[in-house]
């Protein structure tokens, strides 16, 4: 028996719709303080979240804001506003719905603060901004429900941590507030529940019917995949066939650069001129919106895309998803597969295409995991302190606060439930005084305590705090536009680092077309179209995920099989050959192969000796292992020259063969290397940059200000080096260290690997490079060692340029 109120029941009936049991459940349990709904894509999740709100508002008696809807994407908020508009108009409900994101006009935002709608659709950052205003209590008066959409995605990032701190703030303003989280399928619903619920309240979970198993297979091609790298271009004929056979195909890539290269080759092979398009986060908004509109209208047969299409916008009639490259993590694969066949209780159809031999094994492991419904995930650990620092500054911008009260409130947020007072106080001190060992800024503290309440010393500081709200700290990018005489259209963005390597005349790919760099003007790269020219590849930031622990374990299990009837012959033969000439890596042991790799002067450079160790710890950890081990080898006099890492192995080359690996793997010594030596590494600086921005130690470069004061801003690398030299115990360094250990450095997985192998190391001395090791020779991202190597490279490059310019002597201008 449905709990639907009458107007809703007839509205459903008129459309011939059935209320899903989980939609009913959410109505029946509308009074729960916290509730989590887990439903597959297409399960009417969003409507389920809104039904209680619509029912409560139907009588027109509620004044002010009733429900806050928060999604990770602005586009999703606009989408939902359109979708909600229909039932509200059809039933004539007296409900006002508005969205509020960074994109809407200033006047409308002002009006929303004075006269809030019943339902406000927004993002975590816009909510944090609203909470920073002194009139926040007025804006949120009457707020009764919060709906957090795509909470599984938010829970994986600092955006989610910030959101939960904001909800704790809202809970104080509106004590009866109820929360609903909407999530795709996840491995640990209870963890998301603890994340969402106001601590220590429980969070019941409503599980919708997960629907039928997906129809998923490996896409096998006539041409074998390459040995390393990839991007799936060997499979373009097969993929074109699939596109022809389906209405709309989504082709997911793991990185933007790969998507661009793939799209270009797909387009060149598209003899029938099928309507295909590309969509990723570096493209101009106009370009993306055009693709989105065409897709909703059903005008496209295929879209080459990246994670920017991962979240639940309604993309129309997709009937096939192709994942190019190993998915690295089963959960994301499952969520991507859900994009196909956006109808409840119809199986999604997906193909997965390994881009190289290693990925054939990894894709096989992923298929097993999907069929077993065995999702992976890493618990995220407690809420990070840089986000808390920003929250304290936001609180101070809104109103004076007492430390005790704020501490209690913050612990009401799931990720901060275990926060101890010392850490809270360290964050408060950092916000107030900078928290330096040296007494400084006595007159210029940012926060001051007056009558037991903390407040901004200079209320004008609130403006810069508001300008810096948010936890997304993408690398700096430059806009790419056609030159004005070619129309000046915006094409997208490239990383500043990449733009810096471009000279006028260079060509690169963006939005699927080759463009020629013409000029750099006002922080915009001006280009012209250059069809037919060979492109240099645009280096986009596309996150490189590490293969998950679970997938690595499944891969080791596959390697342990006697034979591989499930694998394509080219891959089975490759593994068999490895077994004959060496060994296959085994769970619970560490295989290290040692072999000569050629005389000085041949690849890989002057190093005649190499080792390859199969740690299966994921790319980031294998990379860190390379850094740490080469340092250890240097200390042991083994003359390492360089290394390269993949998700499964690290190869190190040098002058001397390794004969006794055990001392290299001493965990205590590895950890020591981490503290002194790795601390100066670029990986740590990158992590520090993001921490410093989030915590408010430095400010974001806003486009206008960058233009005028370019030489005045200096890099956070300088701050990092200064802190390390003068204040090594500072809070920002501690946060950076903790974050890097979990993230880019991923030392946790090195420790996990060391525990797994427990000292059982098999060192094999072999006459030549082995079948499994050979692909690593082709991997990109080789790291050259020697501190002086950089200087030498610069000197060589300078000498070459000097000679080219005819400037042999040291006197300039002569």
């Amino acid at each position: 028996m449905s709990t639907l109120p009458p107007p809703f029941a007839s509205w459903f009936a008129e459309r011939g719709w059935q209320v899903h049991p989980h939609q009913d459940d959410l109505l029946a349990r509308a009074a729960e303080p916290a509730l989590l709904l887990i439903a597959p894509t297409g399960g009417g999740k969003t409507l389920a979240g809104f039904l209680p709100t619509l029912a409560e508002l139907a009588d027109g008696r509620h004044r002010g804001l009733h429900t806050l809807y928060i999604s990770p994407l602005k586009a999703l908020a606009a989408d939902i506003r359109r979708n909600l508009g229909r039932p509200i108009a059809d039933m004539g409900l007296p409900i006002r719905v508005e969205d509020r994101t960074g994109d809407i006009s200033h006047a409308r935002r002002q009006r929303q603060r004075a006269d809030p709608p019943h339902i406000l659709l927004t993002t975590p950052e816009s909510l944090a901004l609203l909470l920073s205003y002194p009139d926040a209590p007025h804006i949120f008066a009457g707020l009764s429900r919060v709906i957090v959409d795509e909470i599984h995605a938010l829970a994986e990032s600092k955006r989610g941590d910030q959101l939960m701190l904001c909800l704790a703030r809202l809970q104080s303003l509106c004590p009866g507030l109820r929360r609903v989280g909407l999530s795709a399928t996840v491995e640990d619903p209870a963890a998301i529940g603890r994340f969402l619920a106001p601590h220590p309240a429980p969070c019941p979970v409503v599980l919708a019917d997960p629907g039928p198993d997906p129809d998923i297979a490996m896409l096998e091609t006539e041409a074998p995949p390459p040995w390393a790298g990839g991007g799936g271009r060997h499979a373009i004929p097969a993929i074109l066939d699939e596109i022809r056979r389906h209405r709309t195909t989504l082709i997911f890539h793991n990185t933007r650069a790969q998507a661009e290269l793939f799209f270009r080759d797909l387009w060149l092979a598209n003899d029938e001129a099928l309507p295909i398009a590309i969509h990723h986060g570096s493209l101009a908004r106009e370009a993306r919106q055009k693709v989105e509109a065409a897709m909703v209208a059903g005008d496209l047969r295929a879209i080459v895309c990246t994670g920017s299409l991962d979240l639940g916008i309604d993309w129309g009639d997709v009937d096939l998803v192709i994942q190019v490259g190993a998915p690295k993590n089963v959960k994301r694969l499952v969520q991507r597969i859900g994009r196909a066949n956006h109808r409840y209780n119809a199986p999604s159809k997906a193909l997965i295409l390994p881009a190289n031999r290693w990925e054939v094994v990894e894709c096989q492991a992923a298929l097993q995991a999907v069929r077993a419904r065995d999702l992976d995930g890493t618990p995220r650990g407690p809420g990070p302190l840089d986000v808390l620092c920003q929250h304290i500054l936001i609180a101070a911008s809104s109103a004076p606060f007492a430390a005790d009260t704020l501490y209690d409130e913050v612990r009401g947020a799931g990720p901060y439930a275990g926060l101890n007072r010392a850490d809270f106080d360290a964050c408060l001190t950092f916000c107030a005084t900078g928290g330096y060992a040296l007494r400084a800024y006595d007159q210029w503290h940012r926060l001051v305590e007056k009558g037991g309440l903390w407040q901004l010393r200079d209320p004008r500081a609130a403006q810069s705090i508001r300008m810096n709200i948010g936890t997304i700290t993408a690398t700096e990018t430059l806009k790419v536009r056609l030159k004005p005489r070619f129309g000046g259209a915006a094409l997208g963005e490239v990383e500043e680092e990449f733009a810096a390597t471009l000279s006028p005349g260079d060509t690169f790919l963006i939005g699927g077309e080759v463009v020629r760099h013409e000029a750099l003007r006002d922080l915009t790269v001006e280009v012209s179209r250059a069809p037919g020219r060979p492109p240099r590849v645009a280096v986009f930031s596309g996150t490189r995920f590490s293969t998950s622990t679970e997938l690595c374990a499944r891969m080791l299990a596959i390697l342990a099989q006697d034979r591989w009837p499930g694998l394509p012959a080219h891959t089975a033969d490759w593994l068999m050959l490895q077994r004959q000439v060496s060994q296959l890596p085994r769970a619970g042991r560490l295989l290290i192969e040692s072999f000569p790799v050629g005389a000085p002067g041949t690849w890989p450079g002057p190093g005649p000796e190499a080792i390859c160790l199969y740690g299966f710890a994921g790319r980031n950890a294998q990379q860190t292992l390379g850094l740490l081990l080469t340092k250890r080898m240097e200390d042991e006099g083994l003359h390492p020259l360089g290394f390269v890492a993949s998700d499964h192995a690290t190869m190190i080359w040098g002058l001397d063969p390794v004969t006794d690996p055990a001392p290299l793997f001493d965990p205590a010594r590895l950890r020591a290397g981490l503290d002194d030596w790795l601390a100066g590494n670029a990986v740590m600086k990158r992590t520090f940059r993001s921490v410093a921005l989030v915590a408010g130690l430095t400010e974001r470069n806003h486009p206008g200000r960058r233009k005028t004061g370019r030489q005045a801003t200096f890099s956070t690398d300088i701050l990092y080096d200064t802190l390390r030299r003068h204040d090594p115990g500072h809070l920002m360094l501690r946060i950076t260290h903790d974050e890097a250990m979990r993230g880019l450095v991923d030392f946790g997985r090195i420790e996990e690997m060391l525990a797994r192998i427990g000292g059982r190391i098999d060192l094999l001395r072999l006459p030549r490079v082995t079948p499994l090791a050979a692909p690593l020779l082709l991997e990109v991202g080789k790291v050259r060692l020697q501190g002086r190597a950089r200087e030498r490279l610069m000197e060589e490059e300078a000498a070459r340029l000097m000679a080219e310019a005819g400037l042999a002597g040291p006197a300039p201008g002569g």
């Binding site: 005084t433 900078g434 330096y436 040296l438 400084a440 800024y441 007159q443 210029w444 503290h445 940012r446 901004l456 010393r457 200079d458 004008r460 500081a461 810069s464 810096a500 390597t501 003007r521 408010g696 130690l697 430095t698 400010e699 370019r710 030489q711 005045a712 801003t713 200096f714 890099s715 300088i718 701050l719 200064t722 802190l723 030299r725 003068h726 204040d727 500072h730 002086r788 950089r790 200087e791 490279l793 610069m794 000197e795 060589e796 490059e797 300078a798 340029l801 000097m802 310019a805 400037l807 040291p810 006197a811 300039p812 201008g813 002569g814």
Partner: protein, 215 residues
């Protein structure tokens, strides 16, 4: 004294890897854009509370350069202080600067950040002529003065994947990199900077050892 040696209008100069310029015949050490007190100024204006160590760090490097060159005179090419209030250094820094200034000629050229005579003593002026060279904060556009040595732009250049502060010189004019710890840079090829130089100009990158390259 290691450094990249070159000639500017007859003056034999050495660009040091630290970003300072040394003129052995005059025993002169020339520095630009120290921006002392920057963290203090940002805090005063209600901004971020940056690690308050940049004065210590800049003076530490300056002390090392003075010791290595035994300079008899020091010329600071402006923006030595991040603003006039910042020139009022905290006690310990003031004493440390006074010790560095003791026993040598010290000339503060005005910059846009620090116009007018400021606290720490020494000589002061809008520009200084010494032999064939003229020292000022901002390079003059147009014909300019041969032998002009200036700062202001914080030039930097990228080479083999590394970006470094750099001296820029074309035989008639020299622009120094910023010496202060908390300073960023402007690309030497920027339209605001490159046209100041002739076609055969050189950039001398700072770092472990100075490296010269056309730009």
């Amino acid at each position: 004294m290691p450094g990249y040696r070159f000639d500017l209008c007859g003056a034999g100069l050495a660009a040091l890897a630290s970003g300072a310029l040394f003129w052995p015949d005059e025993g002169a050490l020339i520095l630009s854009d120290l921006h002392l007190g920057r963290s203090d100024r940002i805090a005063r204006l209600g901004g971020a509370l940056l690690p308050p160590y940049e004065v210590t760090d800049t003076l530490r490097r300056l002390q090392a350069d003075l010791a290595a060159t035994a300079a008899r005179q020091v010329i600071c090419l402006g923006d030595s202080f991040d603003d006039p209030a910042a020139a009022d250094l905290a006690g310990e820094h003031r004493r440390r600067l006074a010790r560095l200034m003791a026993g040598r000629r010290w000339v503060w050229i005005e910059g846009n950040h620090d116009p007018g005579p400021l606290g720490p003593g020494g000589e002061h002026g809008r520009e200084l002529r010494l032999g064939p060279l003229t020292f000022r904060h901002v390079a003059r556009t147009g014909g300019g003065t041969p032998g002009e040595v200036s700062g202001h732009f914080h030039p930097k250049l990228r080479l083999a994947g590394q970006t470094r502060p750099a001296f820029l010189c074309d035989g008639a004019r020299l622009i120094l990199p910023a010496y202060g710890t908390y300073t960023g840079g402007l690309d030497a090829r920027d339209p605001a900077l490159r046209p100041l130089f002739g076609p055969r100009a050189l950039a001398i990158l700072t770092g472990r050892a100075p490296v010269a390259v056309p730009f």
